[in-house]
Symmetry: C2
Subunit: 372 residues, 2 copies
């Protein structure tokens, strides 16, 4: 199959190796793996998780939940604060799958109590340090009132506490990540103790790929919800979550121009393909992708002396050493490891495996309803 435009390649062996490693780690630690499917958003990639015993999944929107429900998934957590405007879609889903929702405040729980027509599992999102959203782990007044409200409602089954420690993304020190993890687990245990007399089976769930990848002993929680690990990317490599060789997706971009006077190569591949996430390097320069050599079986490790240094809407600018510069001609394809695989996959709307199979992505499906 001939590639003529920017294309997101997927190495199925690496992907499955990433899934296996995380599934094995979950099993060794006695925790449930509830992978976050927002990274791949693909029914076919989702199927690859089943052979590792995965039955419960995480998604980040009601639309994504509906998509995976339509592909046979029966136990789905929407790990985003409930959007009360989508109650019709939530009720439709709750009627046919084991739906887990996440609340971050009393208003939402009240709206759910009034409008839900089918039972759902409800977890509380706890903020143990990231400070994006969630109820602060020390805000006992709010926690008590929310828990009390849940208790009064027969359609709300209080399941436990979920955390997303997004601040691990700012680290590249295994001890810092371990400390963040321990701090979260400590706070979650206190919460479980506080409510265990009324709710003896509360589950503790954590979610970020850095913690789940880097920490060997994930004891203290019941469930992990990493997502990015299925593909990894340059951001995760920099954090220390993976090696370059674990990165399972790679862009193939046509070379359209060369500028020898400044050692720059222009790719067909810009911010509408990669997104604009960036890695700030130690020398204060920014990179938008690392270059690899495409091979018949996939791609090599990253090459030194050549990288994507800027992106506009459709253009990527690659800076190359003289040695690297001369390797490429107009009309060649260049391989680029993405900075953030979730956003790149979201824009690319589909995958081509290194074996030549096309895989779908939710965003590539027919024109969605703007409103419901």
């Amino acid at each position: 199959m001939r590639i003529t435009t920017p294309t997101l390649l997927l190495d199925k062996q690496k992907t499955i190796r990433n899934i296996r490693r995380m599934a094995d780690k979950a099993k060794q630690n006695g925790v449930r793996l509830r992978p976050h499917f927002k990274t791949h958003q693909s029914a076919q990639v989702g199927e690859w998780f089943r052979e590792f015993g995965v039955q419960a999944i995480t998604v980040s929107s009601v639309r994504m939940a509906r998509y995976f429900a339509n592909h046979g998934w029966k136990d789905i957590m929407v790990a985003f604060p409930v959007n009360v405007l989508e109650m019709d879609a939530i009720n439709e889903l709750a009627a046919r799958v084991n739906l887990h929702l996440v609340a971050v405040n009393l208003d939402t729980v009240t709206a759910l109590a009034q409008q839900l027509r089918h039972p759902v599992q409800l977890s509380l999102k706890i903020d143990t340090g990231y400070r994006r959203t969630g109820i602060l782990a020390t805000n006992y007044a709010e926690l008590d009132s929310v828990v009390q409200k849940i208790r009064e409602q027969d359609k709300l089954q209080f399941t436990g506490f979920v955390v997303h420690d997004g601040h691990t993304y700012k680290q590249n020190d295994v001890y810092a990540i371990q400390t963040i993890y321990n701090t979260s687990v400590y706070q979650l245990h206190l919460l479980r103790e506080r409510y265990k007399s009324k709710f003896p089976n509360l589950q503790l769930s954590i979610g970020d790929t850095p913690s789940c990848s880097i920490i060997d002993s994930l004891r203290g929680v019941d469930e992990i919800r990493p997502g990015n690990f299925v593909f990894y990317d340059l951001t995760q490599q920099r954090i220390g979550s993976c090696s370059f060789d674990d990165i399972a997706v790679c862009m193939a971009c046509p070379v359209v121009a060369k500028h020898p006077e400044r050692g720059e190569i222009i790719l067909y591949g810009g911010s509408v393909h990669f997104s604009k996430d960036v890695i700030l390097q130690e020398d204060a320069s920014s990179i938008y992708g690392r270059i690899v050599e495409l091979t018949p079986q996939g791609w090599s490790g990253p090459v030194e002396g050549i990288e994507v240094v800027s992106l506009s809407q459709e253009h990527g600018v690659v800076k190359a050493s003289p040695e690297q510069f001369k390797k490429y001609s107009v009309g060649d394809l260049m391989g680029v490891l993405p900075v953030h695989s979730c956003l790149t996959a979201n824009l690319m709307q589909g995958y081509l495996t290194t074996e030549g199979e096309q895989l779908e992505h939710l965003t590539g499906l027919p024109y969605r309803e703007l409103v419901s």
Copy 2:
């Protein structure tokens, strides 16, 4: 029609006003308006240009050219360096529309000469200062050899020179933008002189929204190709290309959480909706959107004391003064002016007009072929 998820609102009156203003300016200056459709990528929005006499358009990919060709456009420039890997699709298009291509080097012209089966217009992209791509305006050796190569080919009709002065995006001083424009026009005139004995009708075409919006007298060129002006955005407002009131698209995002202890409101609306373009403010803070009040007819001007300060995949974090904070409740919709309307529209895959009409966007159409 009820909005329940992040939705890109489009004010048709403002859009048409933006189109009219640019069409009037083109007419007053005696230049052809060949608008760039990469900003809206919508067949329906494209139709609005016809009543202003627009017959020739610009696009940034062969796929986009095919889409607008399928919607009746007959004169289409692909303002991106020819990707020689797409020759089959180029030939298919060249058979049915007046196709203009843009070359930046001899290799591409040679490949076109060998593989084109139908005549096309060919312009040379000139680099007059932006330094992204194009042939340097002073590189006469390369220019001469490329022009000679074109001259030898009967399927290549040498049309003229195109420039995209993307460095105007870094300015917010009308004199700087005027100087960039004058510098480009000066260099283009020299090139036209150089080749006029062999090619007496060479056209000069420039393309950036800041120049086309800010400069009153666009004399010296034959054609302008602005795109972003159809919607404008916060980036253009900051440059000085438009007022806030000219911004014709606005995101409507559900409020899902409030954090009074830090004056932050969490929106359902993240980098998969807005993209990650950012405005760095004078105080070194970053903003990802300005907040407006949604009204039955559209939206207000931007409100002071409240703005989007960070984005993750699905979450937007809004920082609000106490006065603004208390205006919003969970379940409300918040209006957000985007930093970069092209990328936001590309992600949102469709529009809802303030009159309730749904408009399509190319990226929202059924799953595209990954390979051709």
